[in-house]
């Protein structure tokens, strides 16, 4: 049985509640998220790529994806075969640290 799936979610972004509901769907099926990438356009169109992993062995991958496909704000979900990804690099000039309410520069 497949243990991992890479999916593309095409959705409408209203607020971060979208991500919350996507994550909750997988949590409820005892699945894990290995990596994800999300981008929101000006008009709210949102594309999420993510890899979901069945560590519990409960076999819920298919059911989770079809369940996700009927969620308000989600237009469709695609399952991508043979997908690969490149890690992206973050560049910055300065860092400010927040640790348990304490801010340091």
């Amino acid at each position: 049985m497949t243990q991992e799936k890479t999916i593309k979610i095409e959705a409408y972004y209203r607020d971060p509640g979208l991500l919350e509901r996507i994550a909750a769907t997988f949590r409820r099926f005892w699945l894990d998220i290995k990596w994800m990438n999300m981008k929101v356009e000006e008009d709210g169109k949102c594309t999420v790529y993510m890899s979901i992993y069945d560590g519990s062995g409960l076999g819920n991958l298919d059911l989770s994806v079809i369940t996700l496909s009927k969620m308000v704000d989600i237009d469709f979900v695609e399952e991508l075969e043979g997908a690969s990804y490149k890690e992206f690099e973050i560049k910055y000039n300065k860092m400010k640290k927040y640790e348990w309410g304490v801010i340091s520069e």
Partner: protein, 572 residues
């Protein structure tokens, strides 16, 4: 125009006439804006005694009318109090719209007074929850909420509106004609090949059975199911909630099957060579063991609105997604072109054998106590054909499952997916508000009744003449029964003492109260309650040792069902 006024106008445009709720700081602007509508009678506000009751009432209203039930609650405790009602509506696919007030936008996230993360608590228990962020959005999101709640697979929707958005002013109001949201109600696709395949399978089957679920009631497809059954000489079984879709006196209806279902109905489903489910998911309450069902090697076919149900439990051999009324209509046309009617004599003889065999267990005689089957029979004798019954959760609910004969579609409502004790009374109130022309009875247990019984005050104040029949066994009977039968009689944490006196409790609210000593009392008091037309409570003492049968050991298979009291050697 103020945001809250815009809210009221938008709700009225959706046809809202009745609203259940409790005000607080954050939904008070809404209340302030509907005073005139309440005074003119355009809107009815029903002040419940607990927000859970408001949510169940809206749910009962929706189940009885087919239109969304509406409630309002304030932020914080008001919102958290509706959670149980929302999940109950969600599990049973009932359209409910909750308008909740939220703290001001600039107060959010700051642990301000009564701040609740309303979306956070609502997402897992609703079909959708939305924060209205600006006054301009109010009309659209009210429209969207009703659209989402009532189309596709119905369900609850929360519209959360910050107080300051309700207080803002707007000059140019635009009411959208249509919903605009990224959401698609499930499609109905008529696929000729699949229709033909279903028809052929049904013609070939020698022992077919139709399993009816709540989807049949929501789609108003009772006539089509009955026509199909008649054409094929095909027995019907149902899920527990699906019972509401089929008149109990239809001759080929065998009853509700499943965990506490009628033995003959479960056996018919097991022995069948083809099972066509309509508007029913194969829930773990109906098919207690998927392996057991698969082992029967029958053909499974399914007509269901939500295609994702085909991926759960048992994958049907042939499935069609869509509206049950439309798809059954197509199936009926195809069958009538295809062939002659069938009678399936041998199979129906077998069904009658099963009915006869199990009837010896299902109607035990009195042993110094009133018996539930007889209590429900007495009620049936006095209640009109179209009376509505709601239930609590427990043994009494299971007795209603097996023995209550509902005779019209949409007349039996119970919390079946969630099993929420306390559903019965407020749901009955909601049903009565939605259908004042019907007699509405809450058939309840003492434990369940006490969970939301405070709303009796509302029934009296607001003149909502429901009749509660409380099976008072002074115990959490269904839990007690599991301890008794399957946990070595280790009975713990279930039996109540003498408090309260249910009659005095009811009277203290101003309801009429009756103590039934025998079946003729039940009938007489019911007649009186109907005639008096005021909220009434009939207390019916039930023995705590009484069992809800058939039952199964937890996790058991339908074939393991226990049909007679194992504590006694005789059949009864």
């Amino acid at each position: 125009m103020k945001g809250s006024e815009l809210l009221v106008k938008s709700m009225k445009r959706e046809g809202v006439k009745d609203l259940f709720g409790i005000p607080g700081l954050y939904n008070m602007p809404l209340y302030d804006s509907f005073i005139e509508d309440v005074e003119s009678g355009e809107l009815r506000h029903i002040l419940m005694r607990h927000e859970q009751g408001a949510a169940h009432a809206a749910d009962g209203y929706a189940r009885a009318t087919g239109r969304p039930g509406v409630l309002t609650a304030t932020a914080g405790p008001g919102v958290t109090n509706i959670v149980t009602g929302l999940i109950t509506a969600y599990q049973d696919s009932s359209p409910v719209v909750a308008i909740t007030g939220a703290v001001n936008r600039n107060a959010m996230g700051k642990l301000s007074f009564q701040e609740s993360d309303t979306l956070g608590v609502s997402f897992p228990v609703t079909k959708y929850a939305v924060e209205v962020k600006t006054i301009e959005e109010i009309p659209l999101w009210v429209k969207n909420a009703f659209y989402i709640a009532s189309t596709g697979r119905p369900g609850p929707v929360v519209v959360d509106i910050p107080r300051d958005v309700q207080m803002e002013d707007i000059e140019n109001v635009h009411y959208p004609e249509e919903a605009k949201v990224h959401y698609k109600p499930f499609k109905t696709v008529v696929n000729r090949d699949l229709v033909n395949q279903m028809a052929l399978n049904l013609m070939k089957a020698e022992k077919p059975v139709i399993l009816v679920g709540t989807g049949v009631a929501w789609a108003n497809a009772t006539d089509e199911v009955l026509k199909l059954s008649e054409f094929l000489g095909c027995p019907i079984v149902s899920t527990l909630p699906g019972k509401s879709a089929i008149p109990a006196d239809y001759p080929l209806y065998v009853g509700a099957m499943g965990y506490y279902g009628r033995a003959e109905a479960s056996m018919a489903a097991l022995e069948s060579d083809l099972l066509l489910a309509v508007g029913a998911r194969f829930s773990d309450r109906t098919f207690t063991s998927y392996d057991e069902m698969k082992d029967t090697k029958k053909i499974f076919m399914s007509i269901n609105l939500d295609p994702t149900d085909f991926s759960k439990g048992i994958k049907p051999d042939v499935s069609m997604a869509g509206n049950a009324k439309v798809l059954l209509g197509e199936l009926l046309n195809t069958l009538s072109v295809m062939g002659r009617k069938k009678a399936n004599y041998a199979w129906n003889r077998r069904i009658n054998e099963l009915k006869d065999y199990y009837s010896q267990f299902s109607h035990p005689s009195d042993d110094g106590h009133m018996r539930p089957w007889h209590i429900l029979k007495a009620l049936r004798e006095v209640l009109p054909r179209d009376a509505i019954m709601t239930t609590g959760v427990g043994q009494h609910q299971m007795w209603a499952e097996t023995y209550w004969e509902n005779l019209e579609p949409r007349s039996f409502f119970s919390s079946t997916g969630m099993g929420t004790m306390g559903f019965g009374l407020p749901a009955a109130m909601g049903a009565k508000v939605g259908r004042p022309d019907k007699i509405v009875v809450d058939y309840d247990g003492d434990g369940s009744f006490m969970m939301t019984g405070n709303n009796l005050a509302t029934a009296v104040d607001e003149n909502i003449p429901i009749i509660a029949v409380v099976n008072d066994n002074r115990t959490l009977g269904l839990v007690r029964q599991v301890q008794d039968m399957f946990q070595n009689k280790r009975i713990v944490g279930v039996d109540y003492g003498n408090s309260p006196n249910i009659l005095k409790y009811a009277e203290s609210f101003g309801a009429d109260a009756f103590e039934a000593h025998d079946y003729s009392d039940i009938m007489e008091y019911m007649r009186t309650a109907i005639k008096e037309n005021v909220p009434s409570v009939i207390r019916v003492p039930v023995d705590k040792e009484e069992l809800a049968l058939p039952t199964l050991p937890p996790g058991g298979k339908l074939r393991e069902m226990i049909v007679s009291d194992p504590r006694k050697n005789n059949k009864n």
